[in-house]
Symmetry: C2
């Protein structure tokens, strides 16, 4: 008997039995409230179907700033405020056209393209030129040095690896084509680039996304091509290497526009100048409704604070829901947030981003810092009853990454990623692709993580 | 050094190191083939969008029998054959109508209903009667014994518990209303029943599903009511207890119809008279396209065999893909399969059903038999790299359940269940709700499980 008692005492020393039970109970309450009375889905409906796309500088982005400000006030957060930030203002313009021209047959065929974000336009006459397909940077360099890209449209057609279970890794291994393809091809005198859409699936619709023009290289137009049409073009090029392509796009970059991050707070009762951030980005690409990318993350951040408030939790530290502006084509919101935090000597205990879609949560990406990571991993058992098992991948999110130099532990909600790149940056990223329960579970998981960090810290 | 060698030998005795590596490699090949060259999604497209709904006895069901027979032949299975089975033949008939009648306001309001499968019709004049809401069997019995249900429409409105993470458990705890509500209300003289749709979500569309009429009780019409309209009706009843409801349905049960299970085999090289089954059910409800329920399971079973065949795997035992007919309203296919297996002295080493939707796989339900379960659980590490962690829930599936008396270990593919009841048995169960990669991962997981059972057995 004595032995048993000392064993229990030892256990108690390692993991306070009553505190553990309280945590389990409170986290159960969070998930119950999210599943039974959650507001995330209704908020996302407004962002997606009433407001719609929210590219930086657009009227939709301004409406989203105002809506999230209002809805955070309605949900009774202690403070809601706007943090001004100037953002790039790129517009797609009117109809975009892509056609495969078959000189031998005297025919042509329309294919589905869209301008990459930040691309220059083609001018009203469009561009028509022979197509050269490349699948690697080495191939591009070789052809370029042989003078074979000059006056051509370069077609970057290295697919995402569909065999990778980690779809974000497959994306990371292919997206350099979208980011750098235009300038790499322009070095060798190419007139434009077509980039295979970033999706592992055969699809008829293109996926946009930002590009980066290198300094001192001519800016040439860059378009994404639907994966099915990339495969078609590639097959046709085998039969007829003299194929040409007609590209017409009217996109342009306007002067920077004024915008805002939107920040809502539950004020800390003990350490009001210590902050824990839950965030997503409010801007979205213009083709869909920005449902999974990243309306979902925004409403989950708001919902996480609402859940804690409605359950009567009084945080020790100040909890912030941050709607970052301009993740997609500039990161200005994230940069400004970090700059201001530094200037104001704000202490950030942690930042959690949700920017991997509103799918069923499978875990969290964890801080790179070993101590903080171990602390997060010690809470894994509290999340397992809700289907979250994956606490092994280090990482945060783009918007919170500028906080890294301040030593802030960065984390991310980690939803199932299998569907994400079917919708990402395309016209298919719409509200109907989001499931109410999956969205709610993600919000609840974020609320639970905020609660644990607030209560125990990450040191 | 010697110590290390003996330690390695000991490990080797417990788990042969080379065999393990071979298994990991072969399972990686299965997943690669499914993700890169999978056919499940294209097969499901035909079942859903070309053929459409496949209720037992319908032309769609006959087309699905013929299509799956052909496609299994095209994929080169060794034998494909039809197993005759007579099935119930219920038809919904023409337009169904549900209206809330507000005598006090002299107005009425249309709501979305559908007949439950197997229900009798109302006759051309419909039924109009006051509504009595009940939320428990106790309440129904009490009101019935007080004579308060006589001549009434009984409204069974106990919701699925949205707070349960296990949505199938929530379904199981509510579906007794749909199954037994009509006869329980008819015992007390009710004229018809309305049953709250089996969904945890607020929705405008109803979910059908089968009912069971008890013997020697009058058969009364039974309809499902969309959850939003169930909530509406419940609120209106508080204000105006004298509300009536108008129900008109033209459904009827025709004589049994001839149909078939469709069975494809990869013949065993060592034990051709030992069988391992992978199955789904080919019939579906008539409102949607039977995409998740259970076109997904059918094409995953076919795909599992195709994957093994195309990778050159020669099974020791005979592997069968079985498309069961009539799971939804009779289970005649499953019963006939088990009867014939018994009659023919077939030895079934295991049966695996996929009938929980084509969502991202989270694990397998495992055999109730302890030895077989332990064997399956010992393979868990082989599935974890593909996101399958859950090997704890005992269970098989409805179609394979008649094999239980023969001592067959029964299992099921266990996909994520959060979205399932948003679509289940409704007009929303359509092809666009299925993700190519999620479907492929489930098929690959089934192929991997067939491979392991074939190679190692379950004893």
């Amino acid at each position: 008997m004595l032995k048993q008692i000392s064993f229990l005492c030892l256990l108690g020393a390692l993991q306070p039995a009553f505190a553990q039970t309280d945590d389990e109970k409170f986290i159960r309450k969070i998930f119950d409230e999210a599943l039974l009375n959650g507001k995330a889905y209704e908020m996302l409906d407004v962002l997606c179907r009433n407001i719609g796309p929210r590219l930086s500088g657009s009227p939709g982005a301004a409406a989203a700033v105002e809506y999230t400000r209002q809805v955070m006030q309605q949900h009774g957060l202690d403070t809601v405020w706007l943090q001004p930030v100037n953002v790039p203002h790129w517009v797609r313009g009117t109809a975009e056209t892509g056609r495969i021209i078959k000189p031998r047959q005297h025919t042509s065929q329309a294919v589905n393209i869209c301008a990459l974000g930040g691309s220059v336009g083609t001018g009203p006459a469009g561009i028509i030129a022979p197509v050269v397909e490349v699948r690697s940077w080495g191939e591009l360099k070789k052809l370029g040095e042989q003078g074979k890209l000059k006056g051509k449209i370069v077609f970057l057609n290295r697919p995402m690896d569909a065999a990778l279970l980690q779809t974000f890794a497959a994306y990371g291994a292919a997206v350099d084509q979208r980011a750098n393809g235009a300038s790499e091809a322009a070095r060798y005198g190419a007139l434009a680039v077509l980039v295979r859409s970033m999706s592992p699936n055969p699809e008829d619709y293109p996926h946009t996304g930002s590009l980066r023009y290198a300094p001192n290289i001519p800016k040439i137009p860059a378009a994404a091509l639907a994966t099915n049409h990339a495969d078609l073009l590639s097959r046709l090029l085998v039969d007829e290497p003299g194929l040409e392509f007609y590209l017409e796009m009217h996109c342009q970059t306007l002067p920077d526009a004024p915008s805002h991050n939107v920040i809502g707070e539950l004020r800390g009762s003990e350490y009001p100048r210590n902050f824990i951030v839950a965030g997503g980005h409010l801007d979205s690409w213009d083709l869909g409704q920005g449902a999974h990318d990243d309306g979902a993350g925004c409403v989950q951040a708001i919902e996480a604070l609402r859940l804690l408030k409605v359950l009567g939790y009084r945080p020790r530290n100040t909890l912030r829901a941050v709607m970052f502006m301009n993740e997609e084509n500039g990161l200005r919101g994230g940069l400004e947030y970090a700059r201001a935090a530094n200037e104001n000597n704000e202490v950030h205990l942690a930042a959690i981003e949700s920017d991997r879609g509103g799918f069923v949560p499978r875990g969290f990406t964890v801080p790179a810092l070993a101590d903080a990571r171990a602390k997060v991993q010690s809470w894994k058992y509290l999340f397992e009853p809700y289907g979250l098992h994956d606490f092994d991948t280090p990482g945060g999110g783009a918007d919170i990454s500028p906080l890294a130099p301040q030593g802030v532990p960065l984390m991310g909600l980690l939803p199932d990623s299998q569907r994400y790149f079917s919708y990402h940056h395309s016209a298919e990223d719409t509200f109907d692709k989001v499931d109410r329960r999956e969205l709610a579970l993600g919000a609840a998981a974020m609320a639970a993580m905020l609660y644990l960090i607030d209560k125990y810290g990450l040191k």
